[in-house]
Amino acid sequence: MKYFLFFLTTFCFSQQHTITGTITSNNRSIDNASVVVLDDSENMLGYTYSNNLGIYSIPINSKVNEKITISVSSLGYKKKEITIILSDKTLIKQSFELEEKAEVLNEVVLKTDQKIKIDSDTITIKTKYFTNDTEQTVEDVLKRIPGIEIEEDGTIKANGKRIEKLLLEGDDLFDKDYKLLSKNLDGKVLDAVQILKNFEDNPILKQLGDSKSVAVNLKLKKNLLNIWFGNLTLGAGVVSENRWKESLNIGLIRKKIKLLNLADYNNSGIKASSQISKSFPSYDIYRQDRYEKEARSVFYSNSGENTTFSNTQSIFNDAFFNTLAFNTKLKSNFSLRSVSYFALDEQIQNSLSTTAYLVEPSPIFNSEQKNYALQNKKIGSEIELKYSLNTKNYFTANIIFKNNPRRINDNILFNSDFVDVASKNNNYSFYNHLYHTYKIKGNKVLVNYLYFGTDQLSEKNKIVSPYLNEFFNIDSQALIKEKITNTITYNGIKSKLISKYKKIEHVIGAKIESSIEKNNTDFLVNNTQNTEYKNNLHFKQNSISLDNGFKYEFTDDFKLDSQITLDFNAFKSDNFSKLYTLLNSHNGLNYDSKKTGSFNLYHSFNQTLPQTSALINNYQLVSYRSFSKGILNEELPVLNSQSITLSHYYSGSSIRYSTSTSLSYTKSGKINASETTITNNFIFNNTAFVAGGDSYRFNFKLMNFIRKIQMATKLETQQTWVSAPIKVNANDFVDINTLFSTYIVSGTTYLEKPYNFDFTITQNRSYTTYNDSKSSNVVTKANCAVNYKLNETFIMELKSDFYWLDQNYTFLNAELNYTPKKSKFSYRMVLNNLFNENEFKISSLNDYTKTTRSIPLIERYALLTVRYRF
């Protein structure tokens, strides 16, 4: 028994050993020689340098019978290694005799004056230097960061490019639906914003380098990490009733798990469902693609909204939404991300419009008074799994489910009679994406992509229209029911091989796809089926496509990019089947120079098939007064167009400005045009395929930071000239020429003073020439905001909007923010529309149509909100 215990002790406990010895060479002791002791698995047990007598001594903790390696090295001598097995002796003597060698070290990784080319990748910007403390959401903060632009709908651009992802502390939560994050997360949680160039989420593709994508990473304040944080906002109208704004943010950001729940309820005009988009297809020949198809929607009811005024001025809406997103690393190589959301909008929009159709022989006038009510729900959920099997294999799986039930009730006084439209829509989408990225030896990557999905749309429309009933020769109060079911189901597999060499990058890809589309319309007039307006169509498309992309670097500055895609599409419909060959090519040259900027010249040639709506052979009712039809018993033609673009981008580092210029010309071959017949009460559209027109587009943008006045300014102009064929109430197609011009001047100050201001002036001009008649329309608007910081706790902002339309309108909004020191509460008072503008009238010009619309505006109100941050 005691032998057993002794046996255990010697094997179980580690012992202190000391290894000592002398290092010599040719009878001379070597001082300052490095002695390193490693164990069997190369773990460091101890190290030292020999003293001036050449003696070394290292204490180590190791088990008896363990194998250790002692390495001795010194400059000018060959390295020596001895492996010994430890006995139970605590003192181990091991001396070394070293052999001389000529030692010359002259490694040059960089010359002394050179600097490493790091961080062309990340730009970090501390938000506190750019904010003025009135920002409520992350989107408000991003608007003030130089280098980041926010488009009208909330899409974020960094360095001129739309971002791939909006990350939170390095991790993705919302993927393509990032607007849910930017529009709802409290702006005050941010510490810094990073712009990541050459962004690539896929770790294997990242090694290929050279990604063109950009992403933005939000860095939170350090004291909010690893704890539950968030805020609760409660707001109600004071003086005026029925104004509400409540929101809740809860989040937990840890290294391994990130969780956010954002909820909001408001009736100040901001829509909940507009933050969520339906599908996000994307195509990048050199990297990953994403295919998502949508079923075609048929019936539409115009809401009467106008985008000239901002949502908070003209949209009457009750919005509620809640979204929960999280990202967790289940294992170090396996992560799971999920987003779920529920959004509900209840909108009531009243408007009055008069439309003039400038047709021959005499124009047709209509008037429409709408009482439009919409209930829009969007429910969805997405799961994404990312798995790195090893350094060569990476898998991603995306499962997306969306549901969008929608109800519209539109009561219209059209000309002199009442029309009632009730639509009940439902839309289910189910998308799946599976990616496998495989690294072949060296610099070749194989990307395999399997995708399938379905989109089902059902529309049930009930219309009571005396005009339609007169058209169908039935009782003037009879009910017309239109039931539309459109579905598309598709699946496909795509593989591409990406090879990257020093000067060349080459991609070759092949895709096989199959899709089935069903369009079904049932039309009941007074409960009897009317077969003239009924449609039942099936389309099947089986296609094989081949991609080839080739990039060549002539020199560091001069590059060529040539892409070509060939599609063989076997199209089968009830009436015909045909094998189409479609060619798409894109060729460009790029010259990048630090002195003169970046020049781009490229040419594109595109061939596509028209939308399947072109094959609808009976008329379909697409709104309460328009019908649409496709071509009759013909094959679908191939549509083509070509364009050539020249662009230039320059950013001067010491002069602090950037310019971007682009000029492009597009010529359309065959296009999908419409033969329109407008009568007093109806519009009939027939699809026709004709030779298209051409268009020119010129865009110039100059951004400059003027140091003397600490102001960032932007000047922008866009000119688009389009010539397109239309046929309206005529026998032939005639060209209509349009010129759209936009001029924008804006400035934002970043003074280190208590006051700051920013302004934007925009003018949109449109001119149309059609049938010898010319029409024009000018809309000018100016926004000006002044921000004044009374002291640490009070900040006031005055915003005014001026509109020069047919009449002039002025809006004045004021905001007062009170943030007491050391308090978790902050207060905000919003005074909206102080001049109480009630209604506006706006004219718009579109091809041959001139519409004047009167829309009521949100009345004056005062909203007080309290925000509690934890």
Binding site: D31, N32, A33, S34, V36, S41, N43, Y47, Y49, N52, S71, S73, S74, L75, G76, E103, V104, L105, N106, E107, V108, V109, L110, K111, T112, D113, Q114, K115, I116, K117, I118, D119, S120, D121, T122, I123, T124, K126, Y129, P146, G147, N159, G160, Q194, I195, D592, K594, S598, S651, S653, R656, S658, M703, N704, F705, A712, Y750, K753, N791, E792
Partner: protein
């Protein structure tokens, strides 16, 4: 005759041993990116140099004669060092100009005495002498190649920062940039957890063809040497400077009510933050 030969050989051997005993020196050039406020390697970039022999090493950076730059370096703190299509409105709010002086920030290490002498500019006249601080290096097995050298990784917490260094046992000398000494090989790359400090290897020459002198700490013209301070004295002095600056800003705030006094943080100003 035999005796003469013997003496001759003896002299030759003696001279030979003298020659062999002649110290060989080396020079290592590093790059040093200092971004104490922003991290992510976004900040002023300097050249740094380590000269060594078997017994001593001398490290210097932020020295004006090392920075022989052709154009004036206006380093806007918000863009990367190589401006390509950088941000359109790059705003230089903090003035990221290089801060150099005549002598530079220096660290002198003597192996036999196991002592470090150092000088940090901008603090008055703080010249510090201390026993080489023990850094509890944690050795990892990860390797990476820098040039043709395979480097091993070691991490440690030292005076308020978490450092990661890459050292190579192919150059078995216990030297490295700044105070990152004492490893079984030369440190080629070193950085702290958020890249506020970043040293990277450029080139090495050993032995140097023309013998050089391993300098001792040079004193700056404007900050003259008075005595050697201990490390804790340096820390106290650094904290004092921050307090003094803050007090001055409080006085200014009294006169300008809209001026908000802020106290700077140690980690935004100095490499060494704590004991």
């Amino acid at each position: 005759m035999k005796k003469l030969n013997f003496y001759f050989i003896f002299i030759l051997l003696f001279i030979n041993s003298l020659l062999n005993a002649q110290e060989k020196q080396g020079i290592v050039n590093y790059g040093y990116i200092k971004s104490l406020i922003y991290g992510q390697k976004q900040g002023e970039e300097y050249k740094a140099q380590l000269t060594f022999d078997s017994k001593h090493s001398y490290f210097v950076t932020q020295k004006d004669s090392l920075e022989r730059s052709a154009e004036p370096q206006i380093e806007p703190v918000f863009t990367e060092g190589n401006d390509e299509k950088g941000t359109p409105a790059t705003i230089n709010l903090r003035g990221g100009r290089q801060i150099v002086n005549y002598v530079g920030n220096q660290v002198y290490f003597d192996r036999e005495k196991d002592t470090l002498w150092s000088y940090v500019m901008g603090m008055g006249n703080i010249y510090v002498k201390e026993k080489r601080p023990t850094i509890n290096w944690k050795f990892e097995k990860e390797t990476k190649k820098i040039g043709s050298y395979t480097c091993l990784k070691a991490t440690a917490s030292f005076r308020g920062r978490e450092y990661t260094v890459w050292y190579t046992t192919a150059i078995p000398i216990p030297y490295g940039p700044w105070k990152l000494n004492g490893l079984p090989g030369l440190v080629l790359e070193a950085y702290d957890s958020d890249y506020h400090i970043y040293f990277y290897f450029k080139n090495i020459e050993y032995p140097v063809k023309e013998p050089i002198k391993i300098d001792f700490i040079k004193q700056d013209v404007e900050e003259r040497f008075t005595q050697w301070f201990r490390y804790d004295t340096y820390l106290k002095h650094a904290n004092n400077l921050i307090e003094q600056k803050y007090e001055r800003s409080l006085l200014i705030a009294k006169e300008l009510p809209k001026y908000i006094p802020t106290k700077q943080k140690m980690e935004n100003l100095y490499i060494e933050i704590t004991e």
